[in-house]
Every structure is written in C-alpha cells, then in structure tokens.
C-alpha cells in the first residue's frame, strides 16, 4: 500500500515541535503510524529540535533545583504503568458516560488512541455516519470517525475552518487525486467538488475538524439543518 498524500511541511514541523492542537496532533499521528517516510521526517525534525535546545542561551536554575530533583530520584515512577485512567477533560466534548466504548479494535489508529472513548455511531446522511471521539484534553477541533458506504458521493461542500483527514480503510477520490489507507487530506475554506468514495470498500476516516461543514447549492441549503457535521 503506497501512501501518496502526506501532511504539509508546517504541520509536521509543528508536530515535532509539540505545538499542534490536540485534534490536529491526533490526525498527524494517525498518518505517522502508517507512514515510515513521515516518521523519518518527524525524527529528523526532532534532531533539529535537539539542535534548537542546545543552541538556546542557558537560563540559571533556581537555587536548590538539583537537590530537589535528586531527592525525588528514588521515588517510584507512578506513571510507568501507563495508568489507563479515563482522563476525560471535564466539559470538553463530553459525550456522557453512557454508551461510550473504547476505540480499541479500530484499524489504523495510533496506539495511544486505543484508550480514548468514542460515542455510538450517529447518522449523518444516507450512507454516511460518524462517531465522535472523546479527547483527554481541550482542543479547537472535534475529532471523529467518519464512515461512508462504497460509491457514496458527498455533496459539494465547504468548510468554515480547517479539516484534517486520515484514511483508515477504503478510500475516496476528489480533484486532488485518489486517497487510500494512510493517506492524509486537508482542506480549508475552499470548496470541495465531487468527493466520491471508492467503489469496493467501506471508507473509514479519522477527521479533525474546526468549524462546520457547509453544504452548497439548493439541496445543500435544504438539508443543511439535518446534517450533523
């Protein structure tokens, strides 16, 4: 399986620098777990990060800092067991306690997401449904799984914010080309025409979205109130 579509350079840099919003971070990490090429890029950028670190002017630590840390060296590492605590961020995209299920078993997600919880599937449009993911911390994006039946044609639409998508299974096609498992797609306020889901397989994507999807045209205006994206 060849990956043909990668995240843009500035997203990878921000990923390595650690300055991405959580939702964007998840979308990029999902691509990375499928893409050795971008893993190498991220590793290279971490080396750049090492150079950044050693090139900074050192700032003196407070008095006794080393002693305070030394005193803690023998403490047991409370976090080494990875905890698996449900650390949902209060108030943020809170999906409620009922009907949530762990994402374990969804193919193509990065390891750390297996511990995240997701809501049940929600109908979006004929052949299309979504599953919101509860994030462990605040994010400007909503993150969800989007599933579409083969051959689904999405209505012409535009976004009010950015949308990052990573294909997990199946694929789709639009003006920028064919997208398959691992491929990364991003859109901003531009209009998307003719997104068509591949004919053979159900398409499953991870999506991190800011703002809303707006459908265009007469039918779009009619059904917009019913579309939950």
């Amino acid at each position: 399986m060849t990956i043909r579509h990668h995240p843009p350079a500035d997203l990878l840099t921000s990923y390595a620098a650690g300055t991405l919003d959580l939702g964007d971070h998840i979308a990029v990490a999902t691509h990375l777990s499928a893409c050795p090429r971008c893993q190498a890029m991220a590793a290279a950028l971490e080396h750049v990060g090492g150079a950044v670190l050693t090139g900074l002017p050192p700032m003196p630590m407070t008095d006794g800092a080393l002693a305070r840390v030394t005193a803690r060296l023998d403490e047991p590492d409370r976090h080494s067991d990875h905890g698996n605590k449900d650390r949902a961020h209060p108030g943020h995209q809170d999906l409620g306690r009922t009907n949530r299920a762990p994402l374990d078993g969804v193919p193509g997600l990065p390891g750390f997401m297996r511990r995240y919880m997701a809501a049940p599937w929600i109908w979006v449009a004929p052949g299309v449904r979504m599953r919101p993911i509860q994030l462990p911390a605040a994010s400007d994006s909503r993150v969800f799984l989007l599933q579409s039946r083969p051959r689904t044609k999405m209505l012409e639409h535009t976004h009010t914010g950015t949308e990052l998508t990573c294909v997990l299974t199946g694929g789709f096609r639009h003006a920028a080309g064919d997208f398959g498992p691992g491929d990364f797609d991003w859109g901003d306020a531009e209009v998307r025409h003719d997104v068509t889901v591949a004919p053979s397989e159900t398409c499953l994507c991870l999506v991190a979205m800011r703002g809303e999807v707006r459908l265009r045209g007469f039918w779009g205006a009619l059904i917009q109130p019913f579309i939950r994206l």
Binding site: A9, P36, A40, A44, H47, V48, V52, T54, T70, A137
Partner: protein, 193 residues
Amino acid sequence: MPADAEATPDNEDWSHAIAAVAAHRDRAAFARLFAHFAPLTKSLMRRSGLPESTADELAQETLLLVWRKASLFDPATAGASAWIFTIARNVRISAHRRGLAGALAELPDVDASFQPDDSPGPETRVATAQAGRRVRAALAKLSDAQRRVLELSFFEEKAHGDIARILQIPLGTVKSRARLAMSRMRELLDEFS
C-alpha cells in the same frame, strides 16, 4: 555565555552520561546532565511563553524523566539532545493540556499519549536505528541557512515575520526557504532509505 555544548570538555559524552545513568544509576553523571540540560530546557520552556517559575519546574520534571527513562535511550536512533528535547516537549504538552493547574508532580505519562506507537517491537527498533543514521546524514547535507530556518520555525510565537526580521531577509524568502528546507530534507531522507 556559560558552558554550552562546545565549551564542555565532554561534548560527545552526553550519550555516555545517559548510558551511565541507565546502567548504574550514576548520580554524578546525572548531576552533569542536569547542570548542562536543565538551564537549556528552562530556556526552551521560557521561549514557549511560560512564566519563569513554571519553566523552572518543568525543566526539573524533564530531568527527572531523563533519570527515569534513561534505559529507553538508544544512542543509535537519537542524539542525547534530540532525546531530551522530545522529553521536554512532551512535558510541556502535558502541562499545557492540564492547564498548568494542580501539582506538577502529578504529570501523566506524556509519552504514552504522544507517540504514534507506544511500544515499538524489535523490527521497529532496527528500522529506527537505520532511520537515525539517515536523519543525521540528511541533516548534515542541509545548508546552514536551511537548518537555521527550520530551527526558528520551531517556535510557535515566532511567526515567519519575526524570522524575517531576525535573519534580515524578506518574508517571502523565509517562507520559500522553510518550504525548500523541508522538501530538501524529504529528498535526502528518501535518498538514504
């Protein structure tokens, strides 16, 4: 400027110091690591806009994790400074996600919630060792100007406009240089693969 990497007699020894911490919980080696990397880490934290006291605490937290995770350090894949950078980065992300509230001692395991894969298998480790060599070879081939632009783009608050001012080149040049540096690096990485 106080001791930076070049001025330190054991410039090449940070990997060994981490290895000594891993192998025999060497506190003297840890103290040397602390003296060198804690002030740099604090500076990194300050750059990302944190107040001084928080920057100091997060630098301490980072070095504590260097002690705890020393056995995970693999000099074949990462340089010491790149490895410590990733720990510092994850500590900062974790603190940020917790809204900088509460006891800093209760930081969750940031690495577990950051890396695409939390437990690389043996084949992955071999692959990352090769990737490490590739990365170093590719970075060595970038021009100084390209490296500089990449380094500066690490700072969130440094919009490209600030970089343009620092490097005294037009804004358009910064953007195209950053783009070029990235695609050059991609080419080099592909070449070495």
